[in-house]
Symmetry: D2
Amino acid sequence: MPRSTDVHAQAPARGRLPLRSVGLSSIRKPLVIERPGRSHSLAVTFRVAVDLPADRKGSDLSRNAEILAEIVDRTAARPAESLESACSAISRELLARHRYASEAFVEASAEYFLRRGLSEERRSFEDYTLLAEARAVRAPDAGAATVHRAVGAEAVGMTACPCAMETCRARLVAEYPALADRAFDDLPMISHNQRNRTRLVFELDGAAEVEVDDMIDAIEAAQSSPTYAILKRGDEGQVVLDAHRRPRFVEDVIRELLLSLPVRFPTVPDPVAVRVSTVSEESIHKYNVEASHRTTFGELRRGSA
Amino acid sequence: MPRSTDVHAQAPARGRLPLRSVGLSSIRKPLVIERPGRSHSLAVTFRVAVDLPADRKGSDLSRNAEILAEIVDRTAARPAESLESACSAISRELLARHRYASEAFVEASAEYFLRRGLSEERRSFEDYTLLAEARAVRAPDAGAATVHRAVGAEAVGMTACPCAMETCRARLVAEYPALADRAFDDLPMISHNQRNRTRLVFELDGAAEVEVDDMIDAIEAAQSSPTYAILKRGDEGQVVLDAHRRPRFVEDVIRELLLSLPVRFPTVPDPVAVRVSTVSEESIHKYNVEASHRTTFGELRRGSA
Amino acid sequence: MPRSTDVHAQAPARGRLPLRSVGLSSIRKPLVIERPGRSHSLAVTFRVAVDLPADRKGSDLSRNAEILAEIVDRTAARPAESLESACSAISRELLARHRYASEAFVEASAEYFLRRGLSEERRSFEDYTLLAEARAVRAPDAGAATVHRAVGAEAVGMTACPCAMETCRARLVAEYPALADRAFDDLPMISHNQRNRTRLVFELDGAAEVEVDDMIDAIEAAQSSPTYAILKRGDEGQVVLDAHRRPRFVEDVIRELLLSLPVRFPTVPDPVAVRVSTVSEESIHKYNVEASHRTTFGELRRGSA
Amino acid sequence: MPRSTDVHAQAPARGRLPLRSVGLSSIRKPLVIERPGRSHSLAVTFRVAVDLPADRKGSDLSRNAEILAEIVDRTAARPAESLESACSAISRELLARHRYASEAFVEASAEYFLRRGLSEERRSFEDYTLLAEARAVRAPDAGAATVHRAVGAEAVGMTACPCAMETCRARLVAEYPALADRAFDDLPMISHNQRNRTRLVFELDGAAEVEVDDMIDAIEAAQSSPTYAILKRGDEGQVVLDAHRRPRFVEDVIRELLLSLPVRFPTVPDPVAVRVSTVSEESIHKYNVEASHRTTFGELRRGSA
């Protein structure tokens, strides 16, 4: 007698093995968010998953796609507050519809455009990356789930190397005796410089809200210079000179960024964790140079991060 | 008076902030390894990094490139035992030459070819991915560093969906009354099937050695079927039928793989951790389905993973 | 005496070598287009370039970025008609501002979302790719430039293999004698099936306009089946069975698509060229299978493409 | 009565449509080539295809995989002369085994390592890309097929911008009056500099042989500077200064490279076509700048390319 059983709900063929995470990845959806003074239509890549108990063969993955469709599609009519608020809502709904799951995971990234420029008349759209995560944990007593959120951004800027600047200056003096009487810090500021990608993520467990545009500002301030789509001839020189006046190793980018956070984000509570990573696509090597760190606002405020 | 100071060794401009990791990434090197009966020339992508204390501005990154060159380049004359043994050696040398560091990290991945086929006369090279990691931790008393190693592999195979097979069968019966008298399990085995990529990593802290070819065998046995470059017309049918006789969700792939490990690797000690992840590039969706888990050989042996 | 010369306008250091193309690539911009009944905010990747005469050292690339900013940024307030109309406008403006150039090239691609589903209540956003090109050629007599346009789309769907279906059926009969009395075409429709990406581009020189949503429809009709984000359990079976009722080699996908074009696009003139390419990410192999062709509407209508 | 017909050899279901290209792509194989004084084990990505006449439903793709296996796998025992000679052999064999085809196409790319360094004691492996193509055309009179070959290479190096150097100098003079009495060309050589990828391909129809290492040398000589894995502190300064003494737009890279070819490759015949493309991953922009050209050795020798 034919039947169509719910294969997912069956017991696994053998063994008793719970799984940490089962879900969808690389799923693309359009999400509209409302920002002060404007709305943004984002093309978001989502990963949405839940854990799976040992006594169940499969996770009901069509529910993940349905939840995404409901929450994401309706932002076309009523924009979400932010990418991370959408992720939080999705993580709660995942727990609600996967009754057997104890945790739900959502990760999202999207390209994001801001009008920026070296001056007012040079402004045009620059591209950044928005990041958001949410992890919902089911309460033991059927209470409301706890949602651990993270919000982040990535910006591409420029780094000029402090070390090569030193050695270039030493070589210049050796080759050009006319420069020998100059103070070292007055010597020409030649160095290698390159694209740098820096990522900043805040693990916001509680109610703290941060403005992601401020996170992008913080990143760009920590690089040797922001970069711009429109640079007329004089502007190029200014960006290059500015960058060489702030030469930065990847180590410097991380530290400058972290040290700036307590001042830029005074209302973020001490327990909030901070993840930073940075990659310089070295112009003098075929490989990249990178650095990363994880600390908390509290440690940064106590000066012991 | 000009000078060429060691900029890296200076104190940071401000703050006291140690960093978890500073190093090189996306650096490509050719590495020769000796396997039973043959040597393999691998094109390896390395990440090599160390931590950085708060009182030092920069990490001496040219040492990382030198260590790689020394250890990797000399395998052209004298092959390494394995990718992970090369990573271990690199991690020890990183600690030796970065005296200020307390930890060193090495990650490596490389394409790897094995001659495989549905039958002896169909054998040709199939491509896999080798993975290795090493983390060296400096001993507090100037003793030898402890090295935590990981070895892994990734294989592309095929999964056929168990759920769609059920619903296809139910629909077939509804549309073809002639099938109604057949036992359900004798009904046609139609389903969607797709590329699956599965990754297996062992965190081998101690002296245990595993043969990475055995890890690849374990992965392929957990998928619905391995895939092959050469399939003559009759062979295609055999692979398709074999895969549909072993329909597997991503959840099944993970569980079958984990449950097979105690038998396949009896000498690996209980504390060794196992990481598994799998991705099915769904043929009926534009997105992927994935699952992952982390456990230990001990938990797998106790049946409580 | 210091100076700031226009380096680009200088003569090259040596040789007399014109260059075919100099420009910007991988530049990302947000573009708003107006479609019937709705507007779409696209994140577009542009390539914008012009040729360079032998007597000029460099191309004024900041103009390319300015043109993009002007034309693209203003669509935030006043949407463009289409991606290809924006490309045409950009190509004309490139020629206008690079007085030394005789040709200008623009290429654009963008993700594009349409609400689709197996049924009305299953509809959600599916992701596609829009493509557009424009090549402006300066008129010899200072007249208006000629613009050669192309518009295209790419859709991901599913193919089921006709050949493996034959051999699976033959094997089934051999293994299950009970099936021996069945007509071959009534045998179970088992085969391998996989993701297929198919791209269709029309080289529209003249005034013809096509609706890109119709191009996406044409692609999906040529694959074994479209694919959907939301498939409840019964739906999966339907998509799988539908796909196996239309088994398609990559050769079939190309031919079905090309043969459908004269009927679907009756107003497109004969000289319009058509480019088609398709890639099946084979589930039974680690490699892809692909096919491509280029013809014209005229040849397709004459049955001699 | 069940049957297993050769589905590929059937007539297409409808229409009469020949196809330009049907084949395999993204297939990875290990290939051993013999170079003067050493052998290289390459991990090659192949595309192998043939055309298809209108009266045939499908191309026999398993033959493509078999040919690759035979020709590529046997180089483990007997190395090929070069990547392009292997491609030529594969293209001939494709025509031999696809009797219905009139053309066969092979494209290959592979990572390639050479020991290079700023000085003898700094030498280590640097990574490059090898490229090869072969197109075999069936002779009308059943004679031997004609094979059109191409050989190429890509190298990553560094470019320093000539224009920003000018404007930086002008700004420096404005800000530092002490520099005002210096000749402009004695002013500091500060500019933006970045990774540059340049590709050179020769379309060698006849018997001409070129050494691909010489093509890599030509590319690196056309960039502002090669880049190296190992640069000790003094070396970095030298590479940076060298690069700024040879500032190069992408236009300059293309022209310097093309103009160097008649001298570097005196035996390559006039009809041989040359394709060059270059991409600078701008440090002051988030986008790339690129240039490309196609000409012949004859035109380059006549000074009219």
